[in-house]
């Protein structure tokens, strides 16, 4: 595999009882860039991402991470290779403090080095703007803050690839704006795969866009290319002319 691609798939397919959710997906994610994965509801985005990080077993096809075939690896092993993942539906440790939430994410890599973990936690909490809430219980946070916390947990892992599944869903406009800033501040630091509905976010953050429709890749390219792509407009952007 090409060294400039951190992650790629070949012929990745998932069928549920004869119904194809993903068909023969050949996909490549360039290292260090932000890529957005878009597509109408039911296009198979979550299935695809699920197969990337190992939550869903592929029916056929291969997933490569940094040139290594990771088909046989269970989810937690893939994560340990440097993939961080945030859920479509917020998933934090609701009964634990913010500090502990992030520490759990950091600790997997940093182990029992308390100082390093604490430093990391302070760093990422500051970065997402939750520092002053470190001792609060995660379940008590507002929805928007919980999403930020989840991103902080992703960051605390120092991921080489950060997969965010619809991170701005349900956020207020002001929160979305700071989210965009956050993602852009990460550019170059890590590779980001963003599953996103909000085209504004996509356009302001993504270097590349892949469009999924009916479980197949419809188009891939820069935002400009995608914007100009007629097939995409027909299938997906159709009515929303501009963002």
């Amino acid at each position: 595999m090409d060294a400039v691609n951190i992650l790629s798939t070949k012929g990745l397919t998932k069928t549920y009882g004869g119904i194809k959710a993903n068909t023969d997906i050949d996909f490549a994610l360039p290292k260090g860039k932000t890529m957005a994965l878009i597509g109408p509801n039911g296009a198979g985005k979550s299935t695809f991402v699920g197969m990337l990080c190992g939550r869903i077993a592929a029916t056929s096809g291969d997933v490569f991470f940094e040139g290594q075939n990771i088909n046989a690896l269970p989810a937690h092993k893939r994560i340990s290779l440097g993939i961080a993942y945030t859920f479509q539906i917020t998933s934090v440790f609701a009964g634990l403090s913010l500090h502990e939430n992030v520490a759990l994410a950091a600790r997997r890599r940093l182990g029992s080095d308390v100082t390093a973990v604490d430093a990391k936690v302070a760093d990422v909490l500051a970065r997402v703007g939750l520092m002053d809430r470190a001792d609060q219980i995660a379940g008590d946070l507002s929805y928007g803050h919980q999403r930020l916390l989840e991103i902080a947990m992703g960051l605390a892992q120092d991921p080489r690839l950060f997969i965010l599944d619809e991170p701005t869903q349900g956020l207020a406009d002001s929160e979305i704006a700071s989210f965009i800033d956050l993602i852009n501040s990460l550019a170059g630091e890590t590779t980001i795969l963003l599953i996103e509905h909000n085209m504004d976010v996509v356009m302001k953050t993504a270097a590349y866009i892949t469009v999924l429709n009916f479980g197949e890749i419809l188009a891939a390219g820069t935002p400009e290319e995608i914007h100009a792509n007629e097939a995409v407009q027909a299938a997906y952007l159709g009515t929303t002319t501009d963002a």
């Binding site: 937690h76 994560i79 934090v92 440790f93 759990l104 182990g111 947990m153």
Partner: protein, 314 residues
Amino acid sequence: MSNTQRSNLLHLGTITLLAVAFFILPTYHVGNLSRIMVLAVYAIGYNFLFGYTGLLSLGHALFFAAGMYGLGLSMELFDLTTAPALVVGLASALVISAVIGFLALRTSGVSFMIVTLMFAQAGYLTILYFGTYTRGDEGFVIQQADRVLFGVDLSSDTGRYFAALALFSVCFLAVAHLVQSPFGRTLVAIRENEERARMLGYDTVTHKLKAVIISGTISGLAGAAYALLFGYAGATFATVQYSIFPLLWVLLGGAGTTIGPLIGVIFMFYLIDLSSSITSAYMLIAGVVLVLLTLFAPQGLAGELRKRVFKWMP
């Protein structure tokens, strides 16, 4: 004072208090406390799995019995001395909890509860089936003369009390330390949200298996200690009732707190003991108190304390 210091103070204070209790309490309560400490070890083992890892087992009596019979039978049938018999007891509990854990962890939630219950039930029947060796329900006595460990007579009041205290202290402190370690915190993470923990890169299955083994082995240790300190092994300890007891103790004392198991055992023991001296219908009192507790102290006694007063409590 930092929270860690406070926790240490609480733990060491508890142990000191128990040590002092030997000298100031009347004989009867000293005897009770030595029993309570052994049972608290069982509860600590159970709490590790239920309170910290979030796995509700109804089969812990099997682990308790594994330790009890591992020790008892090796002394009874193979004339082992106490120390090696204790090792056999521990090893039996470890092996059995590993096997049960491996199988039962394919399930989760109520299925886990039922599978562990059924394995324990099969274990209980197995003890009866091999009645020729185990003496089934009747069980057998471990002779007083054999109950000596490193020169300490475990059948004397003093020997028994401090052996129980030593065992309790080791398990109490070890588990208190373990749950603060990265491993223990990961277990808590699994309890809170297993899928999230997995997607942070933790091997949750292996973690849970380790938790079952640690919990089962501590429970087995309690079983072995019970046989050794009180001189009796019997199939009653393998019945479902003895799987429900630690659940009850832990829930009453406060699941997921270090001190909860001890408080739960003390509470339940004296609830039965005191109410039975007032009325023969003591189960009625026990029942009413349990219902009241769920209504007014849902987190268990230590859990309520933590929620209301000592937020730092481990």
